[in-house]
């Protein structure tokens, strides 16, 4: 099957069969990461620019590792090393990046829609590594990969997402992706963190964490970001943990083989208790491993995969 998209901007623009192709490809890439020599020449000679306008250690490291394992040359630009601080517009920056003839631009940006703006202006492929509160497609895809690996499927699963849905690009992409792949998604958060019309993305809102978790196959906990919310969305972490934290007692409501996920970094003792985070149900570290494989698959598909049949 061919992958025909130039860019990976969000989950809503991917068809279910495209998602399956990405997940299948990623599964193949994972095997490379398990070899003693974790490198293949597939993207030798290709240039990948990692442009992170917003700080992110994990996602950037994951994309960078993925590029290196495929032998691509990766160039990193961060806010401080790029000229955006000097008042250059995003379009100017994008055009300057394009002058380096990269095959792929990976963009993390604090404004929703920034990757879409760039993708319209450059001929390189653009991969969205997280834009504002809009989308984080590579995270959602690696979440789907991790779920499929554990459960053998996504279709028909009960997936619960708990936490700050309103300010989470991961939540938006996860809800869209999970429901597109046939899961039943229920969400739960303080009403201050549930944006208007979120149901339209393919989920239902549970009135309490207990009803949300009941019978769940997968529980996704989201990071509570104090720095973003001041204290007008919830009073204290203590009270948040009390109302919406995942602990052992609540976990008992889910299915026995429930899988616990978290996009990281975790606030232990706030949205997730220590014992749950470290329990055998947790696949939080496997998410990180799969992240590299999934991003290798994205690079391969947009820059060297079936769009160039001879590179196999």
């Amino acid at each position: 099957m061919r992958f025909g998209k130039k860019d990976i901007l969000d989950i809503k623009s991917l068809e279910a069969h495209e998602i399956s192709l990405i997940l299948d490809t990623a599964q193949g890439m994972k095997e490379i990461s398990e070899r003693p020599v974790k490198k293949v020449p597939t993207l030798r000679g290709k240039t990948i620019v990692l442009f992170f306008q917003e700080p992110s250690t994990r996602t950037k490291l994951s994309f960078d590792t993925a590029a290196k394992r495929l032998s691509a040359d990766s160039i990193s630009l961060s806010k401080s090393s790029s000229s955006i601080v000097k008042g250059e517009t995003l379009i100017d920056t994008a055009k300057n990046l394009e002058a380096m003839n990269p095959d792929v631009i990976v963009l993390r940006h604090s404004s929703s829609g920034a990757p879409h703006l760039i993708a319209r202006r450059v001929s390189s492929s653009v991969i969205n590594a997280g834009d504002g509160i809009h989308a984080h497609p590579s995270q959602a895809l690696l979440d789907m990969m991790s779920i499929r690996e554990k459960k053998g499927k996504i279709k028909g699963l009960n997936i619960s997402i708990i936490g700050d849905i309103a300010h989470s690009r991961v939540a938006r992409s996860d809800i869209t992706g999970f429901s597109k792949m046939g899961a039943s998604v229920s969400i739960c958060a303080p009403p201050t963190m549930i944006p208007m019309g979120i149901e339209n993305l393919g989920c239902r809102i549970s009135p309490s964490i207990e009803t949300c978790i009941e019978g769940a196959d997968v529980i996704m906990m989201l990071r509570i970001q104090k720095e973003r919310q001041g204290n007008i969305l919830f009073p204290t972490e203590r009270e948040y943990a009390d109302l919406f934290g995942l602990n052992k007692a609540r976990l008992g409501l889910a299915k026995k083989d429930v899988v616990i996920m978290h996009p990281g970094p975790m606030n232990r003792g706030v949205e997730i208790s220590n014992d749950v985070a470290d329990s055998e149900n947790s696949i939080i570290l496997e998410q990180v491993t799969n992240g590299v494989a999934l991003r290798m698959a994205l690079f391969y598909l947009v820059a060297g995969g079936s769009r160039h049949a001879d590179s196999d």
């Binding site: 929703s112 509160i133 809009h134 989308a135 938006r172 944006p195 979120i198």
Partner: protein, 424 residues
């Protein structure tokens, strides 16, 4: 030398709706005669307006001219050329220039510049507070002597309720209306589009309806307290329409306007992070759009104003949340509003009231087609079918969501002071 506008239907609600010829001498309307009446046909230049409609000059009460200070977006000259092309014989200019029009020097500068140009007329609005900073009253009387017709800190709300009360009382004494930009900044909370499902889908921070309506309700109460006249700018929510409807029933001294984009588009049209769909207040939901149209039909909404807000690529060709609010409107307002007539929501008389008579009333201009009155007239071709093309705009800026829009009906000719300032 006389001009005879020949063969048109003349619509001046409460005065005419008839096939008449209008004879103009110098800058005045000399006579309105039956088409067959041919007596004074010597030395007459004829404007053939067969099949067209002649109405009192359209007035746009809400225009950002950008000069002085932001001439790269619009100058008084380009703005007035756009006004003339849009069929407007007069506009009311908002004071948020740089420097702000908060003193008679700036007022005089704008008026002198407009007089030099001899295009459409400018009636400036002055700031309520110095620098529109919301702290101390500007010299409103001094500006009134220089020519302002209204006061507003448009672009932002006057947040301090006590200062708003005093401003209303002060302006009441000067018999000058206050134009209210209704927005609770803490509720708007830095949002960029309407709060609702489309914003959630796009991951754009939303502005709830209540951010507008809460201030509409506050200023209705302050108008009741002070008896002063309040005019609400760019009404966009169903709750605001309802609050104004109820207040008018009680006899509160208020009027309001809406802009064509609020009865033409909704937040569902804001796609692909196109910043030409970003304005303040934002495009609202379908229900709001319906309520705005209903408000126009039942008279709750007195008039249509464009909130013409030119911006360059520097402000618009950027990330959605960083883009400036506002769209140009002078050259699309009439065609978009004519659609209300074609769709059967308003009669042509209603539309003339909302685009010519009521705006005139608000700023104290006698805008009737009568012998002896100034010849400020707009001729409209109801049948011109065209596609809106921003490249043809006279405005310096092309930030419009209506590029490619199919429209029917447009300005045929604009006459100011007996002189043709635009003809197709």
């Amino acid at each position: 030398m006389r001009i005879r506008i020949k063969g048109a239907r003349v619509i001046d609600p409460g005065n005419f709706d008839d096939k008449k010829d209008i004879i103009i001498k110098n800058h005045l309307i000399e006579a309105i005669v039956d088409p067959e009446d041919n007596k004074s046909s010597i030395d007459v230049e004829t404007i053939d307006a067969k099949g067209m409609i002649v109405v009192p000059g359209l007035i746009d009460i809400h225009v950002h001219l950008r000069e002085p200070g932001h001439e790269y977006k619009e100058t008084i000259e380009t703005g007035l050329k756009a006004a003339a092309r849009g069929g407007f014989t007069a506009i009311c200019s908002m004071p948020n220039t740089n420097p702000v029009n908060d003193n008679s020097q700036v007022t005089k500068f704008i008026i002198n510049r407009a007089n030099e140009l001899g295009l459409s007329r400018v009636y400036p609005a002055g700031a309520i507070t110095q620098g529109s900073a919301g702290r101390t009253l500007a010299e409103i009387y001094d500006m009134k002597k220089a020519g302002i017709v209204a006061c507003t800190d448009d672009g932002k709300p006057l947040e301090n309720s006590n200062l708003m009360r005093r401003a209303l009382e002060y302006c009441k004494g000067l018999n000058i209306p206050i134009l209210v930009h209704a927005e609770d900044m803490s509720l708007a909370d830095g949002g960029s589009m309407n709060e609702g499902p489309p914003a959630t889908l796009l991951g754009i921070k939303g502005i709830p309806n209540a951010a507008e309506t809460i201030m509409v309700v506050r200023d209705i109460l302050l108008s009741e307290l002070t008896g002063a006249q309040v005019h609400f700018c760019h009404i966009s929510t169903k709750e605001s329409v309802e609050a104004i409807r109820q207040a008018k029933k009680r006899g509160v001294n208020i009027t309001c306007e809406t802009a064509p984009h609020y009865f033409t588009l909704t937040d569902e049209d804001a796609k692909d992070y196109n910043t030409n769909f970003k304005m303040n207040p934002p495009l609202r939901s379908k229900e709001d759009k319906k309520a705005v149209i209903q408000g126009l039909i039942d008279g709750t909404i007195d008039l249509i104003a464009s909130d013409h807000a030119p911006h360059s690529k520097i402000e618009k060709d950027v990330e959605f949340d960083r883009a400036a609010f506002g769209i140009v409107g002078l050259e699309t307002s009439l065609p978009l509003s004519l659609k209300l007539v074609r769709d059967g929501f308003l009669s042509m008389q209603d539309l003339v009231n909302k685009m010519a008579k009521n705006p005139g009333k608000l700023i104290g201009i006698k805008n009737d087609i009568n012998p002896g009155n100034i010849a400020d007239l707009t001729i409209i071709d109801l049948d011109e079918s065209f596609e809106i093309n921003p490249e043809t705009f006279k405005s310096k800026s092309i930030n419009t969501p209506f590029g490619g829009f199919k429209a029917r009906g447009n300005t045929f000719l604009t006459m100011v002071n007996g002189k043709v300032v635009y003809s197709r």
